[in-house]
């Protein structure tokens, strides 16, 4: 039967190619990690493919933690070369890396990203935010009349009269996102301290660490929703809820100004300028990590890292800044670091 022959021959072809695959070594850079860094990495990867004779690198998403976990799996062609992260690598991750033989890691800071709070274009304006408001809105336990209680608030105006009298509905990044960590550090923890809740917790007999953890607990009654997907998912939730406030990266907001209205934080509107100057309080550095053992083995790896941080790309007039990255004033130092392959 010709059908059987056809199947048999295609089976043979598949088997041959499988053998060929094992013999063939990888010729492209393999990147994974933060979905915040992904857009920038994709811009660089496309330009890298267009401007050099190396093949276009493959950039996967999945979150900072997932990326670093795969980065630390070991050394070799079947592991990734670069991990993108929207936060610095943790001590524990460096240890895991070392256990698996990934000892020489080059840390590259590419610039800064602002975290913005935005609501629906047609919804009420939120223009009087301070970190304390966010904490009061979504903290699991807050300070009311000098006492720590389960969060009783339902509307924004209940704790800040300058805010609109609408129901609290926040969409915050899920725990697998690096953005969540910055959100906790720069907004929840500061809000917790500013409202005095943290002090009250410590006075109530908690240790400092326990109090910090308690500050980061988010209420679970549906007023705050963890978004594990991408910013587009947050945008869809905001689209469906005129009172909803979502947490976005600056670049995403700037690409969707027709749908989103940005909230000011402590009276400052987030722009690349206010973030670069440090006036806007909620920003974080973006990184990628390079496996030094792969330099010289995977063709184009060092060239990719150098291309990424070159003035023409990551500088203030480059395509990354045009997309929304706040360029790093100390880029020259980073360039030198990459050129010398300085490890952590």
């Amino acid at each position: 039967m010709s059908f059987a022959k056809l199947t048999a021959s295609s089976l043979a072809i598949a088997a041959v190619s499988a053998t060929a695959a094992v013999a063939q070594s990888r010729d492209n850079v393999q990147v994974a990690g933060s979905s915040t860094v992904l857009p920038y990495a994709s811009i660089v990867a496309e330009a890298f493919g267009e401007n050099t004779d190396f093949p276009t690198p493959v950039v996967e998403s999945g979150g900072s933690s997932a990326g670093l976990k795969r980065f630390c799996e070991g050394v070799g062609e079947n592991t990734i070369d670069v991990a993108n992260a929207s936060r610095a690598i943790r001590e524990s991750e460096i240890e895991t890396c070392a256990e698996n033989g990934v000892t020489d890691i080059i840390e590259v800071r590419i610039g800064y990203d602002g975290i913005v709070f935005a609501s629906q274009q047609d919804g009420p304006a939120f223009d009087a935010f301070v970190p304390a408001d966010i904490f009061n809105a979504i903290g699991a336990q807050v300070l009311v009349d000098g006492e720590i209680v389960e969060n009783p608030y339902t509307n924004w105006s209940e704790f800040n009269a300058d805010l609109p009298d609408v129901e609290i509905a926040m969409f915050i990044p899920g725990t697998k996102h690096g953005t969540r960590e910055v959100f906790e550090d720069k907004v929840l923890l500061e809000g917790c301290e500013a409202t005095g809740a943290m002090e009250a917790m410590i006075e109530g007999g908690m240790s400092e660490d326990d109090a910090e953890d308690a500050c980061l607990d988010v209420r679970t009654d549906g007023k705050s929703v963890d978004i594990d997907g991408d910013y587009t998912e947050t945008l869809a939730r905001i689209d469906a809820n005129p009172n909803g406030i979502g947490v976005f990266g600056l670049a995403f907001y700037e690409n969707n100004t027709d749908k989103l209205k940005v909230a000011t934080m402590s009276g400052v509107e987030p722009t690349t300028e206010t973030i670069a100057s440090g006036e806007y309080p909620v920003s974080r550095p973006l990184y990628f990590y390079v496996k030094k053992a792969h330099i010289g083995v995977i063709p184009g790896l060092k060239e990719y890292a150098q291309f990424f941080v070159a003035d023409e790309l990551a500088g203030p007039n480059g395509p990354l800044a045009n997309y929304g990255l706040v360029s790093d004033p100390e880029l020259a130092a980073t360039q030198e670091k990459v050129a010398n392959e300085e490890t952590m």
Binding site: A8, S10, V22, S61, I80
Partner: protein, 442 residues
Amino acid sequence: MTDTSIPKDAPRAKTSIHQIDALTKKRNAAEKRFKAYGMAAIGIGLFFLIVLFTSIIRSGAPAFTRTVLEVDFTLTQAQYEEAEGQLFKTAAYSDFFIAELEETLTADGMSVEFDADTIERILGKVGGTLREYYRANEDKLGEPVTFSLATSSRVDGYFNGRVTRDGLEDSRFLMAADLDLVDALEEAGIITSEFNWPFITGADSGVDNPGGAGIGASVVGSFFMMLVVLALALPIGVAASIYLEEFAPQNRFTDLIEVNISNLAAVPSIVFGILGLAVFIQFMHLPQSAPLVGGLVLTLMTLPTIIISTRAALKAVPPSIREAALGIGASRMQTVFHHVLPLAMPGILTGTIIGLAQALGETAPLLLIGMVGFVARGYPDGFLQGFVEPNSAMPAQIYTWAARADSAFYDKAWGGIIILLIFLMFMNILAVILRRRFERRW
């Protein structure tokens, strides 16, 4: 029991088959009602199908047109060498192009005000196209060449209705005032709309370049994956089912296997992705992001579907066929391969195509083996390389586009769905043709 309860000489009611009694009426009414229910069910199904298709086509249509700027451009040898000497070469090409376009437009005496920044905002990413062209055609240096270059995503949106003048907020991406120049260029016939061939044939592009995004490369990726699935899942699946159905003894062990095959069919597809990462990439050292690995993972996922449907098809062949064959002295293997299998073939093909269609639309197992993300390597260098060179797959590409900030990519995602459906349609047509060829009546 006897019929004593019916009085013998009770007068029988005179009825005629032409006269419809109450019970018949009731039965007829029930039949009518049932027909109505059936038609309503089909109607609802069709209604949702139409809603789905109109929404897909309406959302996806913009992806198939693109707005281009058609102009003559001359690159001198000196400019070429200067651009090639830089690190970010494509940006240099782009700058030369913008400078020359500004000069031409000023000389033409455009009635609206503009500067180089305006042109930069209107224009998409042109550097890559220009560099690729001049690298391949160095002899064209110094003479004018007509280029059709994609405009920026917002200008494109202005032409297909996604962006309106009123809704546009001034930003570094596009100012409302820039649209005056766009209108003027459209009147002059420089900006036109055309069919978006690069979308059909191209590869993925960076997030700031929706005009350059294409699905072609991922169609090829999906094609190679389907090839692997077909080449592995069909023979393995059919062999397993024939053995289980025709040869295997009925005992506890085969029962256990049967139960487990049914269970496998219900396992979430992401589990196969995890397995694929652990076995194929980490243990067998197959390359990441390769359609070969994707195909292997999807084979595992498709196997239970194919086995279950093949066994059903084999069961449906009447035992009399087997008995007749055995009766005239055929061996069991001859019976299966000469008589049972050909008759079961249409059913097997249906099951296979359902399995393949399911595999074609699957994203989750591909997440962990590196096929979801920015994979823009383009077409493989050859047939065999097609299996191992990094590539994406159609559903993965659609998923990636849907997550991007620029809403132009949202249109592309819908356009990708249309291409996926067309691919699926071709697969189904092929299945129908094959089924017709194998169909035997008895």
